[in-house]
């Protein structure tokens, strides 16, 4: 044994007893209890009976005994959420020994493992959102390009083509005469000046048709479902102009139709052009909407991505204060590198799309779901409190408790996003131990919210650009530059306004003003 003075041995013994509450069990080769002792109650073990199988008495030993071969070490075994033990099992001539020690590993390791796992999950989710974003954007862009190309042509050709769809539709009655089914095309007058005549014998004027109608009769009599085409022929009008025609015979239900078409562009071409033109016109309208939606989506996703990144950064910063093992440090360094990369990536996306369309359309405001601004502000404040605490900045929400009328013209999730934006900005510029104050005031028609920090305020030179798109503050090149822009356009869409005022105390103060639901024209509707 160790050559230690008796006092030290005694001290060690006390230490082990106090810290590790050791307990032991001895079982025979059939797994039945021979002997037991130590702090068994510390592991919830009582009422042991010698000679009985141990697994029947201590459930967490099920399956472990008798030991076959190698010794077993089971660290950090948490039993029914009550006790946490390191369990050692080893074999000796007298039987199998089971040693139980109180384990402290869980308490110390859990938070670190939690950070690491959360980090991995966040990164994976980010990766996923980015991939989805890219797939979506690329598909969208490709589609937009196709549509724009198509539309350049179709907008001008659609009207023209409709005007030149010069088809005369005649129906053959049982007496062998024809009647015009639809409005006659322009050319009809040239050849059949007497439109009043109800029954027409086109073959009298278009001699070519005499032959064709004989063949056509077969189609009509047999109720054939196929289309018989005459092929091209040419007619000369009174002014000696040549016109090209083609006729077709077809059955539609019980009706026998003769189509006479003036050919300028061949029918198929026309058909497909009209088809595309119509489709394009429809999708052109959607396109405008979707480009706008895309922009919101882009902004929202990026906003969320940067938000998460900030959270991850916080975690990493906290982690670096922990007493990390070399392996832990290695992981931390990987994490930090990834965060930087991710930040760069987000910036690149922004650069790539900053030239996109400027405005987007209003989505209808729904008065039935108009949010309570106090509640929205409170939800955001609650969600941000932990981050604030981590940064040692206080966050408080003030409003007049006696007021009841806080519903505003807005949409809940966007309103919350706006608050989150403003409050997160305030945090970014807040020194430690300062306070960010969210204040809500109401007057007759409007509610004014302010978010005030005790930082150094916005330099006057850039105040004018704060709410412009892709504007980035001087000290935070990593940020999207869309946050305040998003706030402005969104709030303006609700009929409100947003602005910046230096706070009298020197910090920054952002304000926003939204119409109260009760005072708005929507109130009448709901």
């Amino acid at each position: 044994m160790l050559n230690l003075p008796a006092s030290i041995l005694e001290y060690c013994q006390t230490l082990i007893f106090e810290q590790y509450s050791p307990a032991y069990l001895l079982t025979d080769k059939d797994g039945c209890l021979i002997d037991a002792g130590g702090s068994l109650t510390a592991y919830g073990v009582t009422n042991l009976q010698q000679g009985k199988p141990i697994a029947e008495q201590i459930f967490f030993l099920e399956g472990l005994l008798p030991l076959e071969g190698a010794n077993l070490l089971l660290p950090c075994v948490k039993i029914e959420d009550k006790f946490c033990a390191d369990i050692h099992l080893f074999s000796k001539a007298e039987g199998d020994w089971i040693l139980l020690f109180n384990s402290n590993t869980e308490k110390s390791q859990q938070p670190i493992q939690q950070f690491v796992n959360n980090l991995s999950l966040s990164r994976y989710r980010q990766f996923k959102s980015l991939t989805q974003l890219f797939e979506y954007l690329f598909a969208e862009i490709e589609r937009s390009l196709n549509l724009l190309e198509g539309n350049a042509m179709s907008e001008s050709t659609l009207g023209e083509l409709l005007a030149t769809l010069n088809i005369l539709v005649l129906e053959r009655s049982n007496d062998g005469l024809f009647t015009a089914v639809r409005v006659e095309p322009n050319w009809f007058q040239h050849f059949f000046p007497d439109l009043k005549e109800a029954y027409v014998q086109p073959q009298k004027r278009f001699l070519f048709l005499e032959n064709f109608i004989v063949d056509a009769e077969q189609i009509w009599q047999n109720k054939d479902s196929k289309l018989l085409k005459s092929g091209l022929w040419t007619e000369t009008d009174a002014a000696e102009n040549e016109w090209q025609f083609e006729a077709s015979a077809v059955n539609v239900g019980d009706r026998h139709l003769l189509l006479i078409e003036l050919l300028e562009v061949t029918y198929q071409e026309k058909q497909s052009l009209i088809q595309t033109a119509r489709e394009n016109k429809l999708s052109y309208e959607n396109l405008v909407k979707e480009v706008q939606k895309k922009e919101i989506l882009l902004h929202c996703i990026l906003h969320d991505l940067s938000g998460q990144l900030t959270a991850i950064n916080c975690c990493l910063a906290l982690l670096s204060n922990e007493n990390l093992s070399p392996r832990g440090k290695e992981r931390l360094a990987i994490g930090e590198r990834q965060v930087i990369k991710q930040g760069n990536l987000i910036r690149e996306i922004l650069d790539a799309f900053s030239a996109d369309i400027e405005t987007f359309q209003t989505e209808a405001f729904d008065p039935d779901t108009a949010p309570d601004i106090v509640q929205s502000a409170r939800e955001v404040v609650d969600a941000l409190l932990p981050t604030f605490m981590m940064n040692r900045v206080r966050l408080q929400l003030n409003f007049d408790l006696t007021q009841m009328d806080w519903q505003v013209v807005a949409e809940k999730s966007r309103l919350e996003r706006i608050f989150a934006n403003l409050i997160e900005n305030a945090l970014r510029y807040s020194p430690a131990d300062s306070t960010v104050t969210v204040d809500l005031k109401t007057d007759e028609n409007y509610i004014v919210a302010t978010v005030e920090d005790q930082g150094s305020g916005v330099p006057p030179a850039i105040v004018g650009n704060l709410f412009k798109k892709f504007f980035q503050g001087q000290n935070n090149p990593g940020k999207a530059g869309l946050g305040l822009y998003f706030c402005r356009i969104t709030i303006e869409r609700w009929g409100g306004s947003i602005g910046y005022l230096p706070s009298p105390q020197g910090g920054a103060q952002f304000w926003l003003r939204l119409p109260k639901l009760s005072a708005s024209r929507w109130a009448a509707l709901s």
Binding site: F59, G63, L73, C76, K78, I79, C84, T105, Q113, N117
Partner: protein, 165 residues
């Protein structure tokens, strides 16, 4: 009374702890509390009028740097391989773990659990890969610890398999 040890095995954050919590205590939380080491819980089930006491070992999850400790599996009569349907890599982890577990404790009954069924819209598992393991004779059960769907079924099916031996 019959007593059986069951291990929950899988990548981290797949829902091992949540499945046990749902089965043993009928509770669920969206808050993620990672497991360090192993948590043991007990649950009595009734199978064809026979009481079986299940000793559930909820192991810590596996990630790139921390492997599941095989010593925890000693004496297990069956195990669950838990996969998070929304993360394809957890399926690969499950396959690798299965091989390791079988090497350590031999061929005992197990079930592949595809968890987070409530998030099926976000699932990224390949049907082909799953069809393949089913073809190999694996039992696959889809579950959601959140809604409880498939949880009872998974535990009872495994118990049945263990009791039949």
């Amino acid at each position: 009374m019959i007593q059986k040890k069951i291990c929950m095995v899988g990548a981290f954050a797949t829902g091992k702890t949540s499945l046990v919590a749902r089965f043993v205590r009928s509770i669920y939380s969206d808050v993620y509390q990672t497991t360090v080491g192993v948590k043991i819980n007990k649950k009595l089930v009734n199978l064809d009028n026979q009481e079986v006491s299940l000793i559930l070992w909820d192991l810590h999850g596996e990630d790139e740097l921390q492997k599941v400790r095989m010593s925890y599996l000693r004496g297990a009569s069956g195990y669950f391989l838990v996969v998070d349907g929304t993360r394809r890599s957890t399926f690969e982890t499950a396959l690798a773990l299965q091989a390791k577990v079988e090497e350590t404790i031999g061929a005992v009954p197990f079930i592949l659990v595809l968890n987070k069924l409530d998030l099926q819209a976000d699932w990224e598992l390949e049907e082909g890969a799953i069809a393949q393991v089913i073809q190999q004779g694996w039992t696959v059960i889809e579950s959601s610890a959140k809604t409880g769907l498939g949880v009872e079924e998974a535990f009872l099916t495994l118990t049945q398999k263990m009791v039949e031996g």
